[in-house]
Symmetry: C2
Subunit: 156 residues, 2 copies
DNA sequence: CTGACTGCAAAAGGTTTGCAAAAAG
DNA sequence: CTTTTTGCAAACCTTTTGCAGTCAG
């Protein structure tokens, strides 16, 4: 489904008229290494290696990297969006509301569903953006109960 | 639809030890009427009917209503979460990245997928939280092809 | 050399919090 | 009457923006 298997990250930038800078390299690396992280986390990661990269630069860079198609973002929590490398085209996020763990789900397992939506409402799903909330296997066992309304521990 | 003006919304509150106040009634009504809205929108809706309800009260009330199980929220856009009544538990949001339209998808169409996840990774999906991003039928036609990388400001 | 990119600092949203007054039960 | 809830305003946090200097091409 993809002609250019893995184009160099910097070519992706140049191809779109953007310049390649050390800051952009650092931010992209951070996103790739963290697997998924908020702007702040990414900023932290970058800072832990080199100093001198500004927070606003991180924000601007994330935007650029996303425009170029190197990364995407999803909304996992309230405040901040979560960015992740786009490499694994079709992977979906499974977010556990209990332990907050975020696991990836192979595109394979989602395909039938995606195709069904393509058919019926004619909706084209953007897998990179898909974050499914719920409870993971581990937590389901631990907490026993399931669909009950919980009044303690709000958040999420 | 509802011959019974107030099904049990206030009982839900009392049952959990919360007090029933006009502000809470207004906020709950607003959420129900708007179908889905951000805190601000809800605040606006409430204000358009009565004045004297503070924004912070709206925030606190949304939290309470969610704790009690009357409403839920999803993350549709960057900034603010979107709240909606919990009545239609099993409906999923289809968010078009082009026209920003938000359509509901019946639980029926999602069930096979949900059950599949229950089986394999043992993940219990929380339907109320599910927001699927992509492109709706209408926009798919209009904009022609899709998967191309867009470098012009595409927000979200 | 030129225009895109960065850093800095200040602005802008959106959400939360402390407190005293008002209201619910 | 007691305890929760509200309004108000200030505090907070996260994200955005204007500018001038710097750097990639």
């Amino acid at each position: 489904m993809n002609d250019n298997a893995t184009p160099r990250w910097d070519d992706q930038l140049r191809a779109n008229g953007y310049r390649v800078t050390p800051q952009r390299h650092l931010v992209f690396q951070a996103v790739a290494e963290l697997h998924h992280g908020t702007p702040e986390e990414i900023y932290g990661h970058v800072h832990s290696q080199v100093e001198g990269v500004n927070l606003s630069t991180v924000y601007r860079t994330l935007e650029v990297l996303e425009n170029v198609g190197l990364i995407t973002h999803t909304h996992i929590e309230h405040g901040s969006p979560t960015y992740h490398e786009v490499q694994s085209q079709g992977h979906v996020h499974l977010v556990c509301r209990q332990c907050k763990a975020v696991n990836a789900l192979a595109a394979e397992q989602v395909r039938p569903f995606v195709e069904a939506l393509q058919q019926d409402p004619g909706f084209t799903v953007d897998l990179g953006h898909l974050a499914i909330h719920g409870m993971c296997a581990g937590c389901s066992e631990t907490s026993g109960v399931a669909v009950a309304i919980r009044k303690d521990h709000t958040d999420e």
